[in-house]
Amino acid sequence: MENDLGLWAVPLAVVGGAIRVSTPILFVSLGETLTERSGRINLGLEGTLVLGAMTGYATAVLTGSPWAGVAVAALAGALFGLLHGLICSMGRVNDIAVGIAMMLLGTGLAFYFGKPYIQPAAPDLPAIPLGGWSSLPQVRSALNVNALFLIGIAAALALAWALRSTRPGLILRVVGDSTDAARAMGLNPALIRTGATALGGAFAGIGGAYLSLYYPGSWNEGISSGQGLMAVALVIFARWSPINCLWAALLFGGAGALGPALQSVGVTQGYYLFYAAPYVLTLGVLIATSSPSRALAGAPGELSITK
């Protein structure tokens, strides 16, 4: 048969999968990195992701413009992050418990208000065909890149630079590493953390819009299936570095495509095992890089689960 790639289909599918699947994971983990670098954990981003997917899809259905959907999803995510930030700014509030509550609230709200939007079809975000040079339809399809993926890469680079070399980045890091030092500098840690959580929420909302408006490209209640939670956990894997978030998201996206791709070339035994590959990989890396004698490298000092 023409166009039969044989085993080459597997690496191609992994590359294609990395490009298609990684974007929401990337956006959520970038948002969570930002929040955690300010010294707070927002576990609610799974809820924000689902809410972003719903509001983005609904807006696209109503206005006919997918980019308006992305904007509204970012806004909804920011508002949700703001709520988390404000609640956590009150005394003796545990940010993890609030995060779990926000996760349930976000998915609940999205399911409730999203009901009328399951059936109608929304316009998709456009893809940029970067594979036009190839005569193989498989390559052309794998290299259909969404603009949000490129924006995500740019955002990862920009965040890394901003955290390292700009004044707002320095302020965020100070607040995240030592509340006392931040106060001594005349900063308001609660305000800055709330802002960082809101911005992190906006990122997660955009990730949600990608899910519903591009890939898989429809709104239903099972759209996220836990990707938001996984992305939050990836931040530890990525050691709170935006650049590492990009690699981690690509790795997870590519590993997720491995199972279906192997089955499609005839490696059919043990597909449950291949589906577990990303998690085994994560576990391996975490064990390999952890140490009993020191804290996790790169962890913000104020980050704590007992606060």
């Binding site: 048969m1 166009n3 298609r20 699947v21 898989p216 209640e221 499609s264 005839g266 035994q269």
Partner: protein, 383 residues
């Protein structure tokens, strides 16, 4: 995640409803009290039927097909319908069923997901002998399972055979694809039927199957569809709870699609060939009518195209005339009865003989509900 849950132990609930009753009578009078009355009094008013779905009611798929059936029951005289969607196949479903029984007074339950049967229905049925539990797809066995539980299902494999006939006339690469959830007998029968339908047109056709491992996993289903198209499959069907993602992705890649569970033609009008649909409205209204008339429902109910348990979506514009003719002929043949999809000589894809020369399994044969193999020509493995 269920939308609401209520307590499950009988003791505290009785106290609660008595207290509610007193409070209601005192404060709001008879109207409020009526809603808090315990089950036996309430049930006299008519029949309350409960439907439980594992996913959302409007998923373009399995749950939607059942919800359409529930809507037909809702339109019947003297029947109240209670529904709950997104009920996981865990203890949650037991709590939901108990709340429908105790709080809503339901005496006929349709827990529609495969995994609700064992152990959840099997736990509750002996505890509530007055309630009828009708489970979709499970293998109810006389003597082994409670008498107030029953199972119903349709021979939808015949629908996938017809999908295959349409696919056989449309495929150019002679390679068709199937996105499957889990390797359980009903899914395997669908995969085998799809390929054998296509092979009845052209014996050189092969079918690539990809298992996602879960009933509803949007991203993995999309990846599986991409992988199938990348592998050269140009007609794709599926057996997952919500085929929306598979249909949209396949159509987006330029492949043709065979629908499943419900009519998805609106999602891909030009590339939708036909689809194997459930017709639960007929099954549910029959069962509810029997209950209203005081007649028993058989514990083991099955039906196919002829009985109206399943139906086919109208043929799409991509099916050529020769395909239309063969499709209609085979459909009439199936409706006449005596049609076998699995007939010898037939080997599985490991080379073992599954049907000898002259052996043929009718759609009603219970052997087919224990299917554990993929036939020759299917590329894939059950584990």
């Amino acid at each position: 995640m269920p939308l609401f849950q209520t307590g499950s132990t009988p003791g505290p609930r009785c106290t609660l409803s008595r207290r509610d009753l007193l409070r209601g009578t005192a404060a709001l009078g008879g109207a409020a009290a009526l809603s808090a009355l315990p089950r036996p009094l309430r049930a006299q008013g008519g029949l309350t039927v409960g439907f439980l779905y594992v996913g959302p009611r409007d998923d373009f798929g399995y749950n939607q097909s059942h919800a359409i059936g529930a809507a037909a029951v809702k339109a019947m005289e003297g029947v109240t319908v209670v529904e709950e969607e997104n009920v996981p196949e865990t203890n949650d479903v037991q709590q939901s069923m108990e709340s429908m029984i105790n709080l809503d007074g339901a005496t006929l339950l349709f827990p529609t997901s495969f995994g609700y049967f064992d152990p959840h229905i099997l736990t509750l049925a002996p505890r509530y002998p007055d309630v009828r539990f009708e489970h979709c797809g499970g293998l109810w066995t006389e003597g082994k399972h409670p008498a107030n539980a029953g199972s119903y299902f349709g021979y939808i494999g015949m629908g996938q055979f017809l999908n295959g006939v349409a696919a056989g006339h449309v495929t150019k690469s002679r390679k068709i694809g199937f996105v499957a959830a889990k390797p359980i007998p009903q899914v395997l029968l669908n995969i085998n039927s799809f390929l054998l339908g296509a092979r009845s047109v052209d014996p050189a056709i092969t079918c690539q199957v990809i298992f996602t491992g879960e009933w509803s996993l949007a991203v993995k289903e999309a990846e599986a569809t991409h992988a199938l198209v990348d592998a050269g499959c140009d007609v794709i069907t599926c057996h997952v709870d919500g085929p929306k993602v598979v249909v949209e992705v396949a159509a987006g890649r330029g492949a043709f699609v065979g629908g499943y569970h419900a009519d998805q033609s609106s999602l891909a009008p030009r590339q939708y060939l036909t689809g194997a649909e459930w017709n639960w409205a007929k099954v549910y209204t029959d069962m509810v009518t029997a209950t209203l008339n005081g007649q028993p429902i058989p514990n083991f109910v099955r039906g196919g195209l002829a009985e109206g348990f399943i139906k086919m979506s109208p043929l799409g514009p991509a099916v050529p005339d020769a395909g239309r003719a063969q499709f209609e002929a085979v459909k009439a043949d199936i409706e006449k009865g005596g049609f076998s999809v699995i007939k010898g000589p037939l080997k599985d894809n490991q080379g073992n003989l599954v049907a000898t020369e002259g052996q043929a399994f009718l759609e009603t044969d219970p052997v087919l509900e224990g299917m554990g193999y993929l036939v020759e020509g299917v590329i894939g493995a059950t584990s």
